[in-house]
Subunit: 457 residues, 2 copies
């Protein structure tokens, strides 16, 4: 092995892209085949996910059967769909039959119904049964993401017997790193880590190694809850149980990474004020991008019309003191920023479990405090800057308004994610665009009311 | 084991908080001790991270020595500092000596220098040497996060011999799931997964199981790059090598979770327009929260003063056509939203490796397309709404301006994260507040120029 070689696999994250893309583009299939056969599966999958679906399907056909499966399991659902689309007959049947049940279930859950039907019909009875069980759990649930093929231990085994059992039955399992211990009725009573089992002396009873009361989730819990629990509790694989605490399967560490990355990407899209899109940023069409965004822009534009209404209502004041108009962007812009800061902090704290809906009162106190501090500082600054452009009285109106707007914005930003969570809505929907729209409207009302009160216009 | 018990450990993410907090608050140390001794370490650590540092230190002292170490390693650095602060003499020395070298190095990197000195001085020579090696790598690097205690294999071993070697030497290692293979000079030539080793027959040569050219990183690469590579390539532990590809250590899967969670939390804070803060949202003081935010608000406020300057420069136009003023919030608000959508999409795509700086041209084309589509749709809508409040000519000015502003905003939002990355700046600094501030200023200029051109004011 060339000593410089291992290093290469970490390069693509930074390196110029387009190798495979360009080769397929100009139809150089021999060079493309060399490319896809010489790289690790996840890297090939990443390259395919970046391409137009049809080109990706073409490139996929260049893989030999064994590598094809490994690459397929790493693909995003939209690319998987394109790849399946061009397979037919026996080839298709053999292929979907060879997938891991949890990968198959995840894929089926995200494919259009017609394609999913075709996949299910192609399965052998045994694989179809296993897939049907996983598909029985709701989309996004822990049950969908678990592997049902688990090596479990009885707690009356010795270490030597347990190791023999693992070696005899482990080949079918997706993981043997985590070995759940179950009682006669299949209830989860604990788990043994493979490393402990390997390091223990042969004669030691397995009970000496059992982790009792391990973290676990119900199959109906969300996969994100499961993945966050895995990250928090540092477990490698997480047992999934039914309502009676019987063992159903395990969620493996690589799925936890994938679930968290997916959930954080969804949160990032929502926090930016657009719907999450399926698939790779570079592969999604411009139309899909625009659609994911316009569904938020149009309602927010309609709400923003309230700012026109408010400003229209105070047109007389604006005509009397024209200088009031020039501070509008500064005031509502700053308010929007304070609100955005508070909401993004609370959304993230909720996502990673640092804040819970029951913390509403403490969050209110904290955000009120931060809003008052920021509002006072920025208000004084605004008065100082305001006198450069307008009369002192107008500058004072601007400063006082800014203080009130900052306080309100911090409260809206901090509390709306908690409120959303309590209502069962994704807190990430309280995005910068949503907060700024609310603050725009309310901030204008505050500004004109303060102006009315202090200037008598 | 009570069958209902495993389930409990997944509850705290949703359940009401404050149990331990309240017990310490009213000085009920007996009940607090029962609380901290009856829960898994990560859950105790989470509860401590939520508390004021002094109260957390008090609660920490209720743990017995063995559990104290496990809990300590899960704490955030700010809480760790508070805990170390109240230990003295031998107790302190014994405690820091017993920590894992990588956990110690991480902690030392984030502690104030005076505390770090005290910790280093308290270590035994051997532990100090191991810690010094890790501390030799920059903060945030893969070298800082690796464990140097690795069980490596020679490639002339049989499976039986390799297993004997693992069982004999594995107790000191933080992980034995990944077994790097090195040549006589310590160069990494491949790795063996423990599960393959356990499942293989005794007589098989280890070379049959070796994964050649495994993903790996240099010690000086960033820990985030390493963690993202682990998530992408589905490896459990990642080898870390020096510039000559000699094996230095492994990054373990639990550290990868922690690094990614930390990096995503930092990105979320920056995307919301504030500095990331150290520690738990609930434990950080209001003053610290305000400070993390004001450092962005003040410069942005100063830039926003440009909006006042622009509006002031066009005051004559505003006086001639007062109706122009009432559409200002709508126009720049919508532009800010389009920009925020584009920037958050690109920042996330860069973070997870979907987009690379070399994709600038493709991103430009995509965001131009999306901006034009959105701008056209919203512009037509704005003309329709505008005639309800003002003359048709003013409404047309608003619609045309909105089209241009959307196009500009999508471009600024999409390209500035790429530009930042290319300049070596964190793309997440291109936050909603930064984008909206830029769009506010440029949007106003566009609006008034369009008004000048179409209305001749």
């Amino acid at each position: 092995v060339n000593a410089a070689q291992p290093r290469q696999t970490s390069v693509p994250i930074e390196a110029p892209a387009g190798g495979l893309h360009a080769l397929i583009g100009r139809g150089d299939l021999a060079a493309a085949q060399e490319w896809v056969c010489g790289r690790p599966p996840w890297e090939v999958a990443d390259a395919l996910d970046r391409m137009e679906p049809r080109a990706a399907a073409t490139a996929f056909r260049l893989l030999d059967t064994a590598r094809a499966l490994d690459v397929f399991e790493e693909l995003k659902p939209s690319t998987q769909e394109a790849v399946l689309d061009i397979m037919r007959g026996n080839e298709f049947r053999d292929f979907v039959d060879a997938l891991d049940p949890d990968d198959r279930a995840r894929m089926l859950g995200e494919l259009p119904a017609a394609v999913a039907q075709r996949v299910l019909a192609g399965l052998s009875p045994q694989e179809r049964a296993m897939t049907a069980i996983l598909l029985g759990y709701p989309d996004g649930s822990a049950g969908r993401r678990m592997t049902p093929q688990v090596v479990s231990l009885d707690d009356d085994m010795s270490v030597a017997a347990a190791l023999r059992h693992v070696r005899a039955t482990g080949n079918d399992a997706e993981t043997i790193y985590t070995l759940p211990v179950v009682d006669g009725d299949g209830h989860l009573t604990g788990l043994v880590n493979l490393s402990e089992l390997v390091l223990a002396a042969d004669g030691v009873p397995v009970t000496d190694l059992v982790v009792t009361a391990p973290p676990c989730v119900r199959a109906t819990d969300s996969a994100e809850l499961a993945a966050r629990l895995m990250a928090d509790s540092n477990v490698l694989d997480l047992p999934v149980v039914d309502a009676a605490d019987r063992l159903l399967g395990l969620i493996t560490f690589d799925d936890a990474h994938e679930v968290i990355e997916g959930a954080d990407s969804e949160d990032a899209a929502r926090q930016g004020g657009s719907n999450p899109w399926a698939g790779h940023y570079m592969a999604v069409s411009v139309l899909q991008l625009a659609r994911a965004r316009v569904v938020w822009l149009v309602p927010l534009l309609l709400v923003s019309l309230l700012t026109v209404t408010v400003a229209y209502g105070f047109e007389e004041a604006l005509e009397q003191v024209a200088a009031l108009a020039i501070f509008i962007p500064l005031l509502i812009g700053t308010g929007g920023k304070v609100g955005t800061q508070a909401s993004s902090a609370c959304v993230r704290a909720l996502a990673v479990g640092e804040v819970r809906p029951s913390d509403a009162i403490r969050v209110t106190v904290r955000e009120c405090g931060a809003g008052l501090l920021l509002g006072t500082g920025l208000g004084v600054l605004a008065i100082g800057a305001g006198v450069l452009f307008a009369a002192l009285s107008v500058a004072v109106v601007v400063g006082v308004s800014l203080l009130l707007i900052c306080l309100l914005a911090a409260l809206i930003g901090g509390l709306s994610p908690l409120g959303a969570k309590r209502l069962g809505i994704d807190p990430a929907l309280v995005s910068a665009p949503v907060v700024t729209t609310l603050v725009d409207v309310l901030g204008l009302v505050i500004y004109f009311l303060v102006a009315k009160a202090l200037l008598g216009v």
